[in-house]
């Protein structure tokens, strides 16, 4: 442990730490150890600030600076990275070996999982956007959380930094166990940050739910991890990938067709589903929107929820080692169904933040489908673009919440973009929306296209029902365009009209501190509070990054252009140099003489356009300000209202999230709760009752013979005489 720390300190203490550090990075990836060190240090510092009762924005600036430094470190390592995976060893963690005699021979075994970081291009890709966005969002949060300056502020940034630390462990962990540490760590931070407004019961419940649902998935992760150890005798990625690459397990037996490749991927998939809120597990993510918006932006949109994608990408060799690709088919189908399922809900609900939450679930479904459809590149690229545009969208939504007293109902907000100070927000939302709905030319368009096209390219014989997955995704893409612009049209354009939220009690509350004087829900005099400089900087940067995210697609070769060397451009290159490299099938169908990917450009653009147009027709504003076909004149109504009765109960069902929470409650929680009560009853009355019965037996016996002990001297004497007589009788009978 100490040598790692000492090395880190030396690195830090070196004159001109960063420059020399960068110089060293060329030689090794040791510098990357600074990321967890800095973030952990920042967490501790925030704790110190709390103890010192700092009442300024110091923790925020400190966090922003340290996160920016982290980003710088990652960038430096990235620039110095030559494509070969490296391991940066910090200190030993669970690392021990033992020698036992097996068959009279001493054999040494070990269990090694160190605090060591595995640096390859996949890691760096993830770390780049994790640290970059974290710094950006910390900046945003410095203003967003300003109402809570003091202990709460410190708490927020401590958890924030701890989150980045955990995320870096998750992404960079050199072994499955360290990944798991990060995995659980981000879960903890998610729990703490969702429940940030801890006096609100719904927030506390949401945090709890997130943690517990995650834990269910984590069980899959742990079992997968232990299976891996049993099969391969190691948890370290480099040893693991080496063995899988050779197609053997730890004992040198081939793994093809064994439980190793058939069972383990399923277990990890379940773990990934939990963290990434996929089918069966998604229910926690919408509730997680109870947390402050920066948290939603960073954790529940951009980074943490993509941990599942990362895990499968990281273990892609293991997933791909199965010839039948059972687990990947499972992943593909789960992803597609999740995408569709979430999209149906989004179309019905009114809470704009939850729309974003479900949209995240849906987009994560795309990513999983991409993984399942054998394009880890597509999945990674979509993760990458999604991180930026979804973060931007969240930041925008946060600005609206911040400005309108926590109002989130899209029926109560309209024409926000036209209001003073919200112009940037409107633009940012538009850019986010076109990315999300896949308007051609945007980053989101390209990344989604890679996955969609793969659905029709990957043979159905490899991935079971790949084409069906493709169709589902295509339909979902259309729905995505619809629900994205439904929100956009209703909230950001249209007549300027709003009802302020109940600041102190609404969704994202506690804004009262700084702005209470602005707010009086009884009068229409409410002055929307436009975002300040830090928020604007963050939103602007996010917007810019979102736009720039399309560029990597064109760096390097691309399938659509017939360059098969590194599909997916820059990201493709990054993935190809990592463990997630996979020879993705690209010779699918051809359509009008175009390759599948090229054809998909047009098809998905068409589908997206249909969705967008429907949204414009149903929700668009009237007149010039928006699109001309719209007719909406006030915030609360739209043409869609007329459709609701036609669809009958379906809308109600969808609006109530298909009652999945209730079904879970009825099928799992309630029975368990009843069972618990029954068990407690058993514990008190049967198990303990039995014990008490044993305990009471002597007492009862005593009670039964108590009358003989009446204190009567004669009685005792008579008993003695009688006893003597009996003894004598026995002696006589025995003796004769």
């Amino acid at each position: 442990m100490l040598d790692g720390l000492a090395h880190m300190l030396v690195t830090l203490g070196d004159g001109g730490a960063l420059s020399s550090g960068i110089a060293r990075a060329a030689a090794g990836a040791d510098l990357i150890k600074l990321v967890p060190a800095i973030t952990l240090g920042a967490t501790a510092m925030c704790g110190v600030f709390a103890a010192m009762k700092v009442k300024s924005k110091l923790p925020a600036w400190f966090s922003v600076a340290s996160l920016a430094a982290c980003f710088g470190v990652v960038l430096a390592v990235f620039l110095g990275h030559d494509g070969t995976p490296r391991v940066a060893h910090a200190f030993d963690w669970i690392n021990f070996s033992w020698t036992i005699s097996e068959n009279r021979a001493s054999v040494t075994h070990d269990l090694v999982s160190n605090f060591a970081f595995y640096v390859d291009s996949l890691t760096l890709l993830w770390m780049l956007f994790v640290t970059g966005l974290a710094a950006l969002i910390a900046l945003y949060a410095s203003e967003y959380m300003s109402h809570d300056v003091g202990a709460g502020y410190c708490r927020f940034f401590a958890a924030f930094n701890l989150f980045v630390f955990s995320m870096s462990c998750l992404v960079m962990g050199d072994n499955l166990l360290l990944t798991f540490l990060g995995w659980e760590g981000v879960g903890l931070c998610s729990y703490l940050l969702i429940g940030y407004y801890y006096t609100k019961d719904s927030a506390v419940a949401a945090g709890k739910k997130a943690f517990i649902m995650n834990r269910i998935g984590d069980l899959g992760f742990v079992l997968g991890l232990m299976s891996t150890y049993v099969a391969f005798g190691t948890l370290e990625y480099d040893r693991l990938f080496d063995l899988i690459g050779r197609g053997v397990d730890g004992a040198g037996q081939p793994i093809t067709g064994t439980w190793v490749v058939q069972v383990i991927p399923f277990l990890f998939a379940i773990g990934a589903f939990g963290k990434s809120a996929q089918i069966f597990f998604y229910v926690w993510l919408p509730d997680a929107m109870e947390g402050p918006t920066p948290v939603s932006a960073l954790i529940h949109a951009a980074t943490m929820v993509t941990a599942g994608v990362f895990l499968i990408a990281r273990l892609y060799p293991l997933f791909a080692a199965d010839d039948a690709k059972l687990a990947l088919s499972f992943v593909a189908w789960s992803g597609a169904l999740t995408a569709l399922w979430a999209a149906t809900i989004e179309m019905a609900i009114f809470d704009i933040k939850r729309v974003m939450g479900y949209s995240t679930i849906s987009q994560l479904g795309f990513m999983f489908a991409g993984l399942g459809l054998l394009t880890p590149t597509g999945a990674a690229y979509h993760t990458f673009t999604h991180a930026f545009f979804k973060a931007t969208l969240f930041l925008g939504v946060g600005a609206v919440m911040h400005g309108f007293g926590g109002q989130l109902d899209l029926r109560r907000l309209s024409g926000v973009a036209w209001m003073r100070g919200f112009g940037l927000v409107g633009v940012a939302m538009l850019i986010g929306s076109i990315n999300l709905s896949g308007v051609p030319g945007t980053a989101g368009f390209f990344s989604k296209d890679m996955i969609l096209a793969q659905g029709f390219t990957t043979p159905g014989t490899t991935i079971w029902g790949a084409q069906a997955v493709g169709w589902i995704l295509l339909v979902t893409a259309g729905m995505t365009a619809y629900y994205t612009f439904r929100t956009y049209f209703r909230v950001y354009v249209g007549p300027k009209e709003f009802t302020p939220g109940e600041d102190a009690h609404a969704h994202d509350d506690h804004h009262g501190h700084g702005h209470k004087e602005d707010f009086d829900p009884t009068t229409a005099e409410f002055d929307p509070h436009p975002p300040g400089a830090p928020m604007k900087v963050a939103i602007g940067l996010g917007m810019a990054l979102t736009l720039l995210a399309a560029i990597p697609y064109f760096m390097g070769g691309h399938a659509a252009r017939g360059e098969h060397a590194a599909p997916g451009g820059w990201v493709g290159g990054m993935v190809a140099h990592s463990s997630a490299a996979y020879n993705t099938p690209h010779e699918g169908f051809s359509f009008l003489g175009l390759t599948s990917h090229a054809a998909m450009y047009f098809i998905s653009a068409g589908v997206g356009a249909v969705g967008l147009l429907i949204a414009a027709y149903l929700h668009g504003p009237k007149g010039w300000q928006g699109l001309w076909i719209g007719n909406r004149t006030e915030a609360a109504t739209s043409r869609a209202d007329a459709l609701v009765p036609l669809l009958g109960r379906v809308v109600t069902f969808a609006r109530n999230k298909w009652y999945v929470d209730e079904i879970y409650d009825f099928l799992i929680v309630k029975p368990l709760w009843v069972l618990s009560h029954v068990l407690y009853f058993i514990d008190q009355w049967v198990v303990d009752g039995l014990v008490n019965l044993f305990g009471a037996a002597p007492g009862m016996t005593g009670k039964a013979i108590r009358p003989t002990q009446n204190g009567e001297l004669h009685g005792y004497a008579a008993w003695m005489a009688g006893g003597l007589a009996v003894v004598l009788l026995v002696v006589i009978l025995v003796a004769t």
């Binding site: 004669h714 008579a718 005489a721 009688g722 003597l724 007589a725 004598l728 009788l729 002696v731 006589i732 003796a735 004769t736």
Partner: protein, 322 residues
Amino acid sequence: MDRVTSGVNTLGAIINPYMLYGLCVLGGVGVCLALPRGGKRPQILGALLAALIGGGAMLALGLTAGKAFPNLYFYVFSLLGLGAALRVITHPRPVYAALYFILTVIASGGLFLLLSAEFMAFALIIVYAGAILITYLFVIMLATQAAEEGQTEALADYDTHAREPAAATVVGFLLLALLTAMMFGGVKDLPAPGEPGHTRLMGQMHTKVQRTLRAEGVISPTEEVNAVDERAGTILVTADDGTYRKVERKDWPASLATGNVESLGFNLLRDHPGGIEIAGVILLMAMLGAVVLSRKQVQLDDEAKKAEAHRLGLIPEEGGAR
């Protein structure tokens, strides 16, 4: 072993078992009747019956002994002791009971004498009859209400009425039947003196041997006993001129024999020193205990006194003369 077979004389040879059990039953009935019941008549009848049965049993024992009419003293002491014991348990007045007990003790002393336990016989009479029973009498005096002037002493209810006499007698005589039945298993006659016992005490009593020998004139006053070897039957005697000689067993005087007291003393002090110590401690403790207990002042509150007096029938009416 010789001793066991020579004089086999089980109880079965003395008395027919059925007769014994019959006697037990009859004796039981007698004792039962003799117990105080408040009235006089059945008590006298019972006492007579019990006495008759007892006498009859003793007679039977004697007649069937198979030898010449047995030792008269045994019967005298036995009958005296048992009769007095019967009166101890049947007499309603505690003082009389205590006095009868003294009679029992004396009779037991007689039996002890017959069993050649002279020391114990006198110790018994001195300690029991002389000390313990006198204490009893004191306590009886202390713990009895003084009779009113001019009235005869009223007997307490608990003295005049026995508790469950029938049941107790049945239990008692059942026990007796069992106890006596034990003796049918072959209890032996008392052995004749013959084989020397294991007590070889003379070797330890040089002074006594020397004194006795001098007194009997077996040795001269100037000679001293040097060693006593009882097994070999020699006593080594040294003259003052340094010569020594042996006194053979045949020359030993009868008075040299170890007496009862000597034997008992050796047995007590040599074989049971721990027991003596413990007995001493017990006595000391008893003394301290008695002192402590008797110093304790019991304050009887009026309420309780009255209630108890009521119970005892001392105050017939509320507000009556005290």
